[in-house]
């Protein structure tokens, strides 16, 4: 690149510059990019706040945001309006009627609404007097009574066009006429563009919906507000000092007018008021008289009641004895079941039956005894009869025996006769044969027969002799034989006759015996029959006797039972007579009596209550009279002193949106001032090192040019041109991107807090040109510094290779044992690190910045995340807050507690006094929280220190405050501050603890301390509830609560969580920007450094390649240095990141929100990992370049 010494220097020169650029395009781009980053970041972030403020100011101007809002203690009149209109310098005047009322949404929720009534044409935004104009988003403007325009904030509550809002029954003393209002349009207005709502004295304490409607909807005799704009204000930026100077001037003017107008108004009202007061006094008097009459009536009634009670008492006393007896009977269990009269009747009947039984028994006995006697008689008689019969029989038997004996004798005789007969039969037969033989004279036979006879009678018998004789003699038969035969026959006949007679007698005896036997048998039968009959009778009698005995026993038992029952029955008799027929009746009677007693007692209590009430009524009346009197006196007095009345002239500082937007946009400004400083610094460092390197590289060329006669200025001009070209193009790109990108990202981040208007990214010359020029100048200065020393050398010296920078021993070498153990590449690394200090700083600062940005970005995310997890997970352990209309301690509402005590839906709940108060000194809104049960507090809210997590206990003589409040108000443990309880009562309290808390400001105290401090008992109208189940179940629960009339509002912490989740999403944008910026920073710095390192040591690299180093060894030889610096930078960056994060977080925080202070370790890991990743990418890229270095370079001369 030797420039030939011919004429057209300029062109050649430019060519040389151009060639330098194309030849070192990477270096050029490095400067360009870092300048672009620097300018983009700086200008982008710096113009964020002006852009944001400009956009909002433009929104204000376009919609004629008020400059002044006038309120008056006496109300404002049309006269006031016209006076203001006629005032010099006043532009627009808009009278309005406004108030806060409670609405019911179509779903039945109670909503606190801020209602503003305007003229219909003004409402539509026509005319100069239409201020705080609304921008219609949907629907149309109201045109008649009963229509309203809803601001966008209401949409998030689920309201939409067509919904009807109804006035709540709880409103009292309001000006709105209609009961319901239909939403006809939804709009935005600069007057209410913050999501943060105004406070209100009704409902939940915060305005939830804002409505605009026609002023004829109000029944008002004067205006409540007058809004005004003044000349020259819209031309000024609302956030500028100039604007506020103008406003200041005008304020005095308007206050002056106010004083006059108030006097006029006061006079008008005073007359009117006095008349009204008279009227009121009269009315009050009438009312009091009426009340007194009522009291008298009450007294009379009371006396009547007293008399009635006395009567009741008498009756009770009369029955007392009976009841005592009865009670005793009941208690002793003496009363039988069943009907008493039936029992008595039964008893009496029993007694009668018993008596009858006794009589019957006696009769039966007598009868039985007679029966027995009769039986004995008949038995005797029968005995006698039988004995007689027996005797007869015996006699007959004897006769028979006698006959028998005679018979036996006869028989014996007969037998003897028979024997004789039988003995003589042979003789007779022989005799007969002889007779016959005689008769025929056969004497032979006769002898034969006589031989037989001789055998029988012996030869000596006389007969035989006779016969023998006769026969011998042949005589005729002898007579004697005849006579023997006759005798014999006679005897035989006699025997026959005797035998017949015996047989007859025998027969007679047998007959007699049979008859006797029969007689005996008959007697026996008769005796048996008689015996049977007697024993039967006997048995019957015995049975009768037994029956009788049994009957007697039974009867005796009955008698015993009867006598036993006699007493109780006798006892029942009077009870029955008293009209009670059963135990139930008795109990009933006792109950009745006791009830009567209770009623009487109650009556007594009521009587005394009534008496007390009457007395109270009397006292109240007295009080009311006194109060009325003092009120009237006060009213009279108030109208005697006009100085108590005044106008309140408010400016935009009274507008929530304006104030919060101003403070938030200023926070942005604060952050924006830190970040770009890094980039600015790095840009200058990068340029300086790059240009130094470039000048070094072109040393010989510079020497040549110098030798050729170029002036120093001209030579330097080339490098300045080079640097200028890079930085100007960089500025251009940086501005083009930065001016749009950064303000938009930040604006979007704030969209979670505001209903934002259109955003205008402007080219702000003071920033854009100013910073660009500053940065270009800085790069040129760096370039000049780089050239200066080189150019100061003589040409000849420059032609020589630059004396190599002397190697230096470093501190590390002194520590022998460390140094000796290092390899050469490590030694070189160590020496190089300290040799090129500029690069060391550049790298460490650049990488540190990169890591710090990442830590801050990720940490910011962690911090907001921690609001959700810390506040709603660890600190607030309840998930539903219920606001009730009355104190739940003194006036518990049963239906409500029925819901609360259902364990399926509610795990636990705590009664709390919660109230919006103010810390007076710091003017901070704080929630006063007084838990009813101190010991259960920690189940719902964990009070603990953030650092160390030591739990805190509420002490009896002090308060615990939340950390953010303490830091905002500059309070420490032991400090005292004045606390306004929201009702105007102030108390100075001492802080005994500061608790970790992220959302809203809280002051916790014990009920006793609250009472001591504010002179009244806490009202437990808030319930902290731990509901079971997920969001869906909680929402159902919320509906259930809201159906209860006692509940005025329900808040689910999940809703709040959700809004913070949205916030995190917008923070993600910022984190992304930070990551991209950090990446760009790291890449540019590392690339540049490595590039220079490689370029500068090209020959060294070539040499070690020639010496036989492998590519890998060459790489580590070069990159170890950068890696080490990157590591240092990362470590420093992690530390700086914590500081940066702390700063960013504190700046970004809103008054009532504290972000988490700690960064999760994961964020550190991410930040370090990303930094190292960026570094690795650069190394990888440069490694390829390293491989391409030719060894032939080593043969070249020193450059």
């Amino acid at each position: 690149m030797v420039i030939k010494g011919d004429g057209v220097l300029k062109r050649t020169y430019l060519k040389s510059v151009l060639r330098s650029i194309t030849g070192t395009i990477a270096r050029f781009i490095a400067i360009l990019v870092i300048v672009a980053l620097g300018v983009g970041f700086l200008v982008g972030l710096m113009s964020s706040t002006p852009d944001m403020q400009y956009s909002v100011d433009r929104y204000y101007d376009e919609n004629r945001m008020y400059d002044f809002r006038i309120l008056s203690t006496l109300g404002l009149t049309a006269d006031d309006v016209s006076v203001l209109r006629d005032t010099e310098g006043v532009q627009g005047v808009m009278p309005a009627v406004s108030e806060h009322v409670l609405f019911r949404s179509p779903e039945g929720d109670t909503l606190v609404g801020a209602v503003t009534g305007l003229d219909y044409t003004v409402l539509e935004g026509t005319g100069e007097d239409a201020l705080n104009r609304t921008v219609l988003l949907e629907g149309r403007y109201p045109q008649q009574r009963g229509e309203c325009l809803l601001l966008r904030s209401g949409v998030s509550l689920g309201l939409q066009v067509g919904d009807i809002l109804t006035l709540s029954e709880e409103n009292s003393d309001i000006m709105l006429r209609e009961d319901s209002y239909r939403i006809v349009g939804i709009a935005d207005t600069p007057y209410n563009f913050s999501i943060e709502s105004e406070t209100s004295s009704i409902g939940g304490g915060k305005v939830q919906i804002t409505l605009y409607l026609g002023d004829d909807c109000f029944d008002a005799d004067c205006y409540t507000d007058i809004f005004m704009t003044v000349d020259g204000a819209s031309e000024l930026n609302s956030f500028s000092d100039a604007y506020w100077e103008l406003i200041q001037d005008k304020t005095f003017l308007i206050q002056e007018i106010g004083r006059e107008r108030v006097t006029v108004r006061f006079e008008q009202l005073a007359t009117q008021m006095r008349e009204e007061l008279e009227e009121q006094r009269r009315l009050a008097e009438e009312e009091f008289q009426k009340q007194e009459a009522l009291l008298e009536d009450g007294r009379v009634q009371l006396e009547e009641e007293r008399a009635a009670l006395a009567r009741a008492k008498e009756q009770l006393d009369a029955n007392a004895a009976l009841i005592t007896a009865l009670t005793e009977a009941v208690e002793n269990g003496q009363l039988p079941e069943g009907s008493f009269s039936a029992l008595i009747r039964e008893y009496d009947e029993g007694v009668a039956a018993y008596t009858d039984g006794l009589e019957q028994l006696a009769a039966a006995e007598k009868e039985l005894t007679e029966g027995e006697a009769a039986l004995a008689a008949s038995r005797e008689e029968a005995q006698e009869k039988f004995e007689a019969a027996e005797e007869e029989l015996v006699r007959q038997e004897i006769q028979l025996e006698d006959a028998k004996i005679q018979l036996e004798d006869s028989k014996l005789l007969l037998a003897q006769l028979k024997t004789q007969l039988d003995d003589n039969a042979r003789l007779i037969e022989i005799l007969e044969q002889l007779k016959e033989a005689f008769s025929r004279n056969d004497l032979a036979s006769a002898w034969k027969v006589l031989e037989q006879l001789k055998e029988i009678l012996g030869e000596n018998s006389e007969l035989v002799h006779l016969l023998e004789s006769a026969l011998t003699l042949g005589q005729a038969l002898p007579e004697r034989l005849e006579g023997i035969l006759d005798l014999y026959y006679a005897l035989q006949l006699q025997y026959e006759e005797g035998m017949t007679q015996v047989a007859d007698t025998e027969r007679q005896i047998a007959q007699g015996e049979a008859a006797l036997q029969e007689g005996k048998m008959q007697l026996e039968e008769q005796r048996q029959a008689a015996e049977t009959a007697f024993s039967q009778s006997e048995q019957e009698l015995a049975a009768g006797r037994e029956e009788l005995t049994q009957n007697r026993t039974l009867l005796e038992e009955t008698g015993v039972v009867l006598s036993e029952n006699a007493e109780s029955i006798e006892q029942l008799r009077p009870i029955t007579e008293a009209g009670m027929d059963s135990a139930e009746d008795v109990r009933q009677t006792i109950d009745n009596y006791q009830q009567g007693q209770t009623e009487y007692d109650r009556g007594l209590v009521m009587l005394s209550e009534s008496e007390a009430e009457l007395e109270n009524g009397r006292i109240r009346l007295e009080e009311a009279k006194r109060d009325a009197e003092s009120e009237f006196t006060a009213a009279e007095k108030s109208f005697s002193d006009p100085s108590e009345h005044r106008w309140y002239v408010l400016d935009r500082n009274a507008n929530v949106g304006y104030v919060s937007f101003e403070s938030n946009s200023e926070k942005v400004d604060a952050i924006c001032k830190v970040f770009p400083v890094f980039f600015f610094l790095i840009a200058v460092l990068v340029t300086l090192t790059t240009m130094t390197r470039m000048v070094d590289e072109e040393r010989i060329q510079i020497g040549t040019l110098k030798a050729l006669g170029y002036s120093d200025g001209r030579i330097m001009f080339k490098y300045l041109l080079y640097a200028a070209a890079a930085s100007v193009i960089g500025c251009g790109i940086g501005l083009a991107v930065g001016i749009r990108l950064f303000p938009s990202v930040i604006w979007n981040a704030y969209s979670i807090l505001y209903y934002q208007p259109e955003f205008y990214c402007r080219f702000l010359p003071e920033y854009a040109i100013g910073f660009s020029v500053a940065l270009v100048a800085a790069t040129l200065l760096a370039t000049w510094l780089a050239c200066r020393s080189t150019l100061s050398e003589v040409a000849a010296g420059l032609m020589q290779p630059k004396a190599p920078k002397i190697g230096k021993r470093i501190f590390l070498e002194r520590i022998g044992f460390v140094w000796k153990h290092l390899s050469f590449t490590k030694k070189v690394t160590a020496r190089n690190l300290f040799r090129y200090k500029k690069r060391l700083y550049m790298t460490v600062i650049g990488i540190m910045g990169c890591t710090a940005l990442l830590v801050a970005g990720f940490g910011l995310r962690d911090s907001i995340n921690y609001i959700i997890f810390g506040q709603f997970g660890e600190i607030m352990k309840y998930n539903v807050t219920v606001q009730t209309r009355h104190d739940n301690e003194t006036n518990p509402h049963n239906d409500l507690f029925a819901i609360l005590d259902n364990p399926e839906q509610i795990q636990d709940y705590l009664l709390v006094h919660q109230q919006m108060g103010t810390a007076v000194e710091s003017d901070t809104d704080v929630y006063l929280v007084v838990p009813r049960e101190m010991d259960r507090m920690e189940d719902f809210i964990s009070l603990r220190t953030r650092v160390g997590k030591h739990s805190l206990m509420l002490e009896a003589d002090g308060v615990i405050v939340s950390e953010k409040f303490a830091s905002v108000a500059g309070l420490k443990v032991g400090s005292r501050f004045t606390l306004d309880d929201g009702n105007g009562t102030e108390a100075v309290v001492r802080i005994t603890g500061i608790t970790e808390n992220y959302l809203n400001n809280y002051v916790y105290m014990t009920p006793d301390f609250y009472e001591k401090a504010f002179g009244q008992a806490p009202e437990y109208t808030t319930l902290f509830v731990k509901a079971a189940g997920g969001l869906e179940q909680q929402e159902q629960l919320s509906e259930l609560f809201l159906k209860n009339e006692e509940v005025s509002s329900v808040t689910l912490t999940d809703w709040t969580k959700e809004s913070f989740s949205n916030m995190i999403r917008s923070i993600d944008y910022i984190v992304l920007v930070l990551i991209v910026a950090a990446a760009a920073l790291a890449v540019v710095v590392l690339y540049n450094l490595t590039n220079i390192n490689i370029a500068e040591r090209q020959k060294e690299i070539a040499t070690i390649k020639v010496l036989g180093f492998y590519d890998r060894e060459v790489g580590s030889y070069i990159f170890r240095e950068i890696s080490l610096l990157t590591l240092f930078g990362t470590l420093f960056g992690l530390v700086c990141g914590i500081a940066l994060h702390g700063f960013v977080v504190q700046t970004v925080e809103m008054e009532s929100v504290m972000f988490g202070r700690s960064i999760s370790w994961l964020s550190f890991v991410y930040s370090a990992a990303l930094t190292l990743l960026f570094s690795a990418i650069v190394d990888l890229f440069m490694y390829r370049k390293l491989k391409k270095i030719s060894m032939v370079e080593s043969l070249k001369a020193v450059d």
Partner: protein, 234 residues
């Protein structure tokens, strides 16, 4: 027996745009082990290309190069690196010392990557720099720096010592001293030393002179009796 180093029809072209520039063409020569060789020729004759190719820094397009029975021309990139690492010692015209390392460390830089290297102290003693071992290059004169460079090359115990204009940046006297050192090294250690120069006067001290002209070897001369350095004048 084959020669220690042999170039057979070695050619190298460069492409410059569309033009093909011939650096060397069909070069043939042989070098025996232990010889002190001077390759001489005017600027642009192709000496440096020859050196690059022999030193393993570049590759030829045609032909074969043999060293100690190995075909260098067939090596791939990695083998070439290993070849440079263990077999070749370089002595550069501009010394190419690492500025940030002392003389001793510069020698160790080379010896550290070798398997069988000589102790740095011994080598530095050998080149006469015993007292300057702890000095940084910038604290040394040109001749001293070149001695460090030679010591660095010798410490690796290479097969050949390649010297590119070793006296180019030195004054006459110092140049002579360096040449003497190189010649002594050759004689004492028996290493093959190849010196590339445009200075024809030096040829007298060589065992073998290879003259290069327009990319080819114009003449190879063997000196039976090389002149000692001290007697050479230029």
């Amino acid at each position: 027996m084959d020669s220690y180093i042999r170039f057979e029809n070695v050619s190298k072209y460069y492409k410059m745009g569309e033009q093909l520039i011939i650096a060397i063409e069909k070069i043939n020569f042989e070098i025996e082990k232990g010889e002190f060789v001077v390759i001489v020729g005017p600027s642009g004759a192709g000496k440096t290309t020859l050196l690059n190719i022999l030193g393993g820094m570049d590759v030829c397009n045609e032909g074969q190069i043999w060293l100690d029975g190995e075909q260098i021309s067939a090596y791939n990139k990695k083998q070439l690196t290993r070849y440079r690492r263990y077999d070749v010692g370089f002595v550069f015209q501009f010394y190419n010392l690492v500025q940030n390392l002392t003389a001793k460390e510069n020698v160790e830089l080379a010896s550290e990557i070798c398997r069988e290297s000589l102790p740095a102290e011994q080598v530095l003693d050998q080149v006469g720099l015993k007292d300057r071992m702890q000095n940084f290059p910038a604290q040394l004169s040109g001749g001293e720096q070149q001695r460090v460079s030679i010591a660095r090359a010798l410490a690796k115990e290479p097969k050949i010592l390649l010297c590119d204009e070793p006296t180019g940046a030195l004054d006459y006297r110092t140049g002579k001293a360096i040449l003497k050192l190189l010649q002594d090294t050759c004689r004492q250690t028996g290493k093959t030393v190849i010196v590339i120069t445009h200075n024809s006067a030096i040829t007298a001290m060589a065992d073998r002179v290879i003259r290069v002209k327009n990319g080819t070897v114009s003449k190879v001369t063997l000196n039976k009796n090389p002149t000692p350095v001290e007697e050479i004048e230029w």
